[in-house]
Subunit: 382 residues, 2 copies
């Protein structure tokens, strides 16, 4: 088995671009990843392309815009975890020695004629009866508040933090460079009690790409490769017992596997991009990922531990999903790109000082108790 | 690197089932594959699920119906080659030693409210202006006829052959157990000259699944494992120079790679399931796969070489896409299942006597000259 390294990353600007073409956004990300890594594009051997709603042969349509055809392309979907699945797909191809160079890309265009709403799957009785994502997360929030005394102020602080960092991130559209106050989050229009509009991620389009390389070739391209020391994808239920338990069983299990695989523990993580489509999600995932004990997520944000210069893990320094939006297939790849830049000290104004170990976490599907979803966790280090 | 074996296969009946639920069809296929292989379902370690239009987290929704959750699931799409991509995904996981047991499944429901038509992608200028699949293949046919003197009778003979075999296949709905004569094919309503309605595959729903195992564990489950000796996925253009050249560049390249990988040549193949959504496709692919020289595809069918008891390669003994329909994600997996049964002598009334080596070939996307598609070729042997 080979070690696997990230040697280049690229991103389109994330934001609402209703007139854009998704393959063009992907091309921007792909080309930045290729040129910044110094790889001869013709040497790429395999591609995994993550997306959820962008139609057939998504990866091929993107790569052909970058002048790339011929390699095996796996178009992979796992709802919000599609991008992480793409990264893991390429990781495995290289880890196992089959290839030396591959590209993982992810993209999604959500704005457009339908106003950015996700399509409702008609055979999903929960969604068609109103238990869409904001409602599901609102119930998780209510449960967490009841069980642990978590407050709406604590929830709101997540939005304040992440939107503050988004303003520092030049890869996010100017439109989303808007800091918000605690009062503004609390007083925004209610979407699903206790989640207000500013507690939910905005609608964005975007794409991201990373170039992965084997141990054999990585140092031909860079003196600062970033190693992927754990890559885990699993499936299961988002919530352990449907409505009754709030924890993300998939997330806790994936994190445990990733820690075991890497020999790295939550106490070693300096920077984390996690799945924060709603404020409550970040608090719950502090706990799932082991940054704090169950029930202490509210305290973690209260004490500023997840701030860039906090005493815990710097969480969502990019702005996270709350800051940059959540173009589904792009998110998981963008997280890896962000961690890559952070660990190389190239993150810009939102750099976490001296970050050496980073974790990316994303969860897709599996809202209801009868359906299954996917969770991806990656740990990277320099 | 481990050898990789197919140790079990399953299929739902293929046919028009507008009232069916695709995950239920997949469950039937999955459960047959599991029970016939004797594998403890809980020992499956990874799943690749192929489909094109069935919505998010397709594989998870299917597996949960079979009581299976927790394993990594990659939902993979490559248009008509989605199923082959799923098989290759699991193949790689096992070949490289990462896992010992995995399941590749594919499914698609095409009938329903929209009458079974494939969605037209609005950014695809060719399709929106009328160059849909039948039109594209009609142009390939016209070109082949002009260049090589291929006749409409030769084209029609492909439909006669494949629909004859479909009548012997108990895994196809009774509705499609209808032999046709040369005259009926030629005189059927014209869809896109020279392709009549009986020259096109019918609309079907269906699902298929195969269990793949490493060398280490395969013989624990069966004394008749079928080895996958080549698995190739590539991308590119379906036609070499858009409209000008009729050959499938992707197919010829994938076949060449598969022959090199396995040390097996076209002269060694006993049985083949190839991509025959239209009669002309089978003729062109005889040539692409090296069963005959370029331009001799018409002669190949004329001389009965592709019949079950012919002097060449028995092609589409299952009935092929023309016989059973083409539920996109299911097709590539169903081909592997069919070759598995053929090589074990378990194909029933359409058994190819003494078949030892089989090839499965499928092509997806890439109709137009500017877009890219995918081609999968697998070679199996006992």
């Amino acid at each position: 088995m080979s070690k696997v390294f990230v040697i280049g990353a690229g991103m389109s600007t994330f934001g609402p671009f209703p007139d854009s073409i998704v393959h063009e956004l992907c091309h921007q990300a792909t080309w930045e990843a290729i040129t910044s890594s110094g790889v001869d594009a013709r040497k790429l051997q395999v591609c995994y392309a993550g997306h959820a709603y962008q139609g057939p042969c998504f990866g091929q349509k993107t790569l052909v815009k970058s002048g790339l055809t011929g390699m095996p392309v796996f178009n992979v979907e796992n709802a919000c975890a599609s991008g992480a699945s793409a990264v893991m797909g390429v990781y495995i191809m290289i880890k196992t020695g089959l290839y030396d160079l591959g590209i993982a890309l992810g993209g999604e265009k959500l704005t457009g004629a339908d106003g950015g709403f996700l399509p409702i799957v008609m055979d999903d009785l929960d969604s068609t009866n109103g238990r869409v994502m904001p409602a599901a997360f609102a119930m998780i929030a209510k449960r967490h508040m009841e069980k642990y005394g978590t407050t709406t102020e604590q929830l709101a602080k997540v939005a304040v933090k992440n939107k503050k960092y988004a303003c520092l991130n030049t890869r996010i559209a100017e439109k989303y460079h808007k800091p918000v106050t605690l009062e503004e989050v609390l007083q925004a229009p209610m979407i699903a009690d206790p989640l207000t509009r500013l507690s939910c991620c905005p609608v964005s389009d975007g794409a991201a790409a990373v170039i992965l390389a084997s141990e054999k070739v990585a140092r031909q391209y860079t003196s600062k490769p970033v190693e992927i020391v754990a890559s885990v994808l699993n499936s299961g239920l988002r919530t352990k017992y449907g409505l009754i338990e709030y924890r993300s069983e998939m997330s806790a299990r994936a994190a445990k596997e990733a820690y075991e695989m890497s020999g790295i523990g939550p106490e070693d993580i300096n920077v984390c991009e996690l799945h924060d489509p709603f404020t409550i999600a970040e608090i719950v995932h502090y706990e799932d990922l082991g940054f704090c004990e169950p029930g202490e997520g509210g305290l973690y944000i209260d004490e500023g531990k997840s701030e860039i210069n906090g005493k815990g893990v710097a969480v969502s320094p990019s702005g996270g999903l709350l800051g940059r939006g959540h173009p589904l297939g792009a998110t998981g790849v963008a997280q890896i790109a962000e961690i890559f830049w952070q660990l190389r000290g190239e993150a810009g104004a939102h750099q976490v000082v001296n970050a050496k170990v980073g974790l990316a976490h994303v969860v897709g599907g599996g809202v209801t108790s009868i359906e299954s979803g996917a969770c991806g966790v990656h740990i990277l280090k320099v």
